[in-house]
């Protein structure tokens, strides 16, 4: 990274600091070889033991970001660019391969991925999910009806969750996750699923939560949503931060980029991408109290 001489001094305390975070998934890949043809009697043995080989998939390259209170950050990018990985790291669901995320309070991820226990009934899952989020029984009692109403499950709430349709269980998961009012809120785009009635209801609830939360991260493919709800946008491509700034500005360039790709103009798109990176300024975070802070 090119060094800059000027120092950016951030007054007060930021809400979220993402410090050189990167993420590499380790997974297995079925090996395609067979051309290497070892002695025949070994073949069966070898294929039984090592059909697959371990591969590393870099999902997110080193990324730093400082987000202050009151900022709502829209995250945009193509499919598989690392948006959801970034949110998972901020939410603490997955530990980063390197770097660290600091936050004033535990960020809460609002998504339909909050999988619960299929064998238990809907109402049991509500109680369990709320307890897992650290609520007390009194708080749950106060919110229970609102959760059931938001989920729109009515009678089905007493049936085991494994009997639910995909839409029903995602509604329940959303309703449970939305029941706490977090200071730092993370929203994944998957909320745009469901029928029109539910979409409307979740949208209302989301706006309500957005109003309460101090800081928001929002992943969406819908540019109007980002424009409407966010006052800052970041663009991630292939695990790299490309741009960071005013939503209108970033979205304009992002649209141009995707348009070029759609037209098959890879060269032009990559040129644009390079230019965006060139213009980008990233924070090289240093803690003022670093002498006292321990990383443990």
């Amino acid at each position: 990274m090119a060094e800059s001489s000027d120092l950016n001094f951030i007054e007060g305390t930021p809400a979220v600091v993402i410090d050189k975070v990167s993420m590499t998934y380790r997974t297995t890949s079925r090996s395609r070889d067979g051309s290497s043809a070892p002695a025949v009697r070994w073949k069966g043995f070898r294929s039984a033991v090592s059909r697959t080989k371990a591969v590393e998939v870099p999902a997110l390259k080193e990324l730093s970001l400082v987000v202050e209170h009151g900022e709502s950050v829209g995250v945009i990018g193509r499919n598989g660019s690392g948006k959801s990985t970034l949110l998972k790291l901020v939410g603490g669901q997955v530990p980063p391969t390197s770097g660290a995320v600091y936050a004033t309070s535990t960020p809460v991820m609002l998504g339909v991925n909050a999988a619960l226990i299929p064998g238990l009934s809907g109402d049991q899952n509500i109680v369990l999910g709320c307890l897992a989020m650290g609520m007390t029984h009194q708080q749950i009692d106060a919110k229970y009806d609102a959760i059931v109403e938001l989920s729109g499950l009515e009678e089905a709430i007493r049936m085991p969750m494994k009997s639910y349709s995909a839409g029903m269980s995602s509604r329940l998961r959303f309703a449970i996750a939305a029941s706490i009012d977090p200071e730092i809120l993370i929203i994944d785009e998957a909320l745009n699923t469901g029928d029109a009635q539910f979409k409307d209801r979740t949208r209302k609830k989301m706006l309500e939560l957005l109003g309460q939360a101090g800081t928001v991260f929002l992943v969406s493919h819908s540019m109007p949503t980002i424009k409407e709800l966010c006052n800052r946008a970041i663009w991630i491509d292939q695990g790299e931060l490309i741009a960071d700034g005013e939503p209108d500005h970033i979205i304009k360039w992002y649209r141009m980029f995707t348009q070029k790709l759609a037209e098959g103009d890879r060269f032009g798109a990559m040129k644009l991408r390079r230019r965006m990176i060139n213009d980008l300024e990233v924070a090289d975070v240093a803690d003022r109290n670093s002498l006292r802070r321990s990383r443990a």
Partner: protein, 298 residues
């Protein structure tokens, strides 16, 4: 990601701007708290632990027609099987006073531990979805698994005592039977400690899971469920090893108190208590050390 990755944009790099921030009031997301804070937060999640344990006991056998009766039926059938093989065919119970009750107590109590250990060893690997969805001290999942087994085993214990009373030669009920409570309590602590250790190991190497069932079977034969420890009088070192086996001591103390009207001796109590407390302490620290890793995908 697209396969036709365009020429890696090595050229342009963003400009790094040195940024000074005040991190004093910020905490690292997902950071492992100090051990004491961890224990306190575990206590704060006691309602979650209790609810999880209780709810899953209720729905555990819903798939089966006989439902929760299996909680009692399975150790019963197990006991019957060992009785046929060991008692009738191999006559391994020769010389043991009230062999049927001896066998019943051994098999029932051992199965409590073996179930608790194998269930709690999968508590992390099998609950990845809950771990990804919520932030809570992960040890509560292992604790809940053990508590669930304890709840599920209350009818099992009652069946065991009923069998001891009913099956000839009938035993008399005495106050000494209350000593079962501390025995089962220590057994619970031991299971929990071992479960914590295994849960982290399984989350690191899933292969460990395969070994556990073999280890448990070996352990079963080493715990004198269907023969007397006196069989090993001729091999003193083996007998010594067996006497230090925590689950042998669980079974031994239960038999002494329920069947043979004896306290069981301080030595056995001390060995069991030491095992339980030490395993729990080691398990807790070992599990806590890995707290940040449990969300990781394998």
């Amino acid at each position: 990601m697209s396969t036709e990755t365009p020429a890696k944009p090595q050229g342009p790099q963003p400009t790094a701007v040195a940024t000074s921030v005040n991190l004093r009031d910020l905490r690292r997301v997902g950071a492992r708290p100090p051990l004491l804070d961890y224990l306190v937060s575990l206590w704060d999640y006691r309602h979650f632990v209790y609810y999880d344990a209780q709810a899953r006991v209720q729905t555990g056998n819903e798939q089966d027609k006989l439902g929760r009766a299996w909680l009692v039926l399975s150790p019963l059938l197990n006991g019957l099987m060992f009785y046929l093989i060991m008692g009738v065919l191999l006559k391994s119970g020769h010389g043991i006073e009230n062999f049927v009750a001896y066998l019943v107590i051994g098999v029932f109590l051992f199965q409590m531990s073996s179930r608790a250990i194998s269930v709690s060893s999968r508590a992390i690997a099998g609950n990845k979805n809950v771990i990804h969805a919520f932030q809570f001290p992960r040890a509560s999942l292992v604790l809940a698994a053990n508590l669930r087994e304890l709840f599920a085993n209350i009818p099992v214990l009652i069946t065991m005592l009923v069998l001891v009373i009913v099956l000839p030669p009938a035993e008399e009920i005495s106050l000494r039977w209350l000593m079962l409570v501390p025995v089962v309590g220590l057994q619970f602590l031991f299971n929990l400690g071992l479960g914590l250790i295994l849960a982290r190991l399984v989350s690191m190497f899933n292969d460990v899971n395969q070994l556990i069932s073999y280890a448990l079977r070996l352990w079963m034969y080493m715990s004198c469920l269907f023969f007397s420890i006196d069989k090993f009088d001729s091999v003193p070192w083996l007998k010594n090893v067996m006497e230090y086996n925590p689950l042998y001591n669980v079974v031994h103390l239960a038999r002494e108190n329920v069947l043979y009207g004896s306290f069981g001796g301080w030595r056995a109590w001390a060995i069991l208590a030491l095992w339980s407390l030490a395993t729990l302490a080691i398990g807790m620290v070992f599990f806590w050390k890995g707290e940040e890793s449990y969300g990781r995908e394998l």
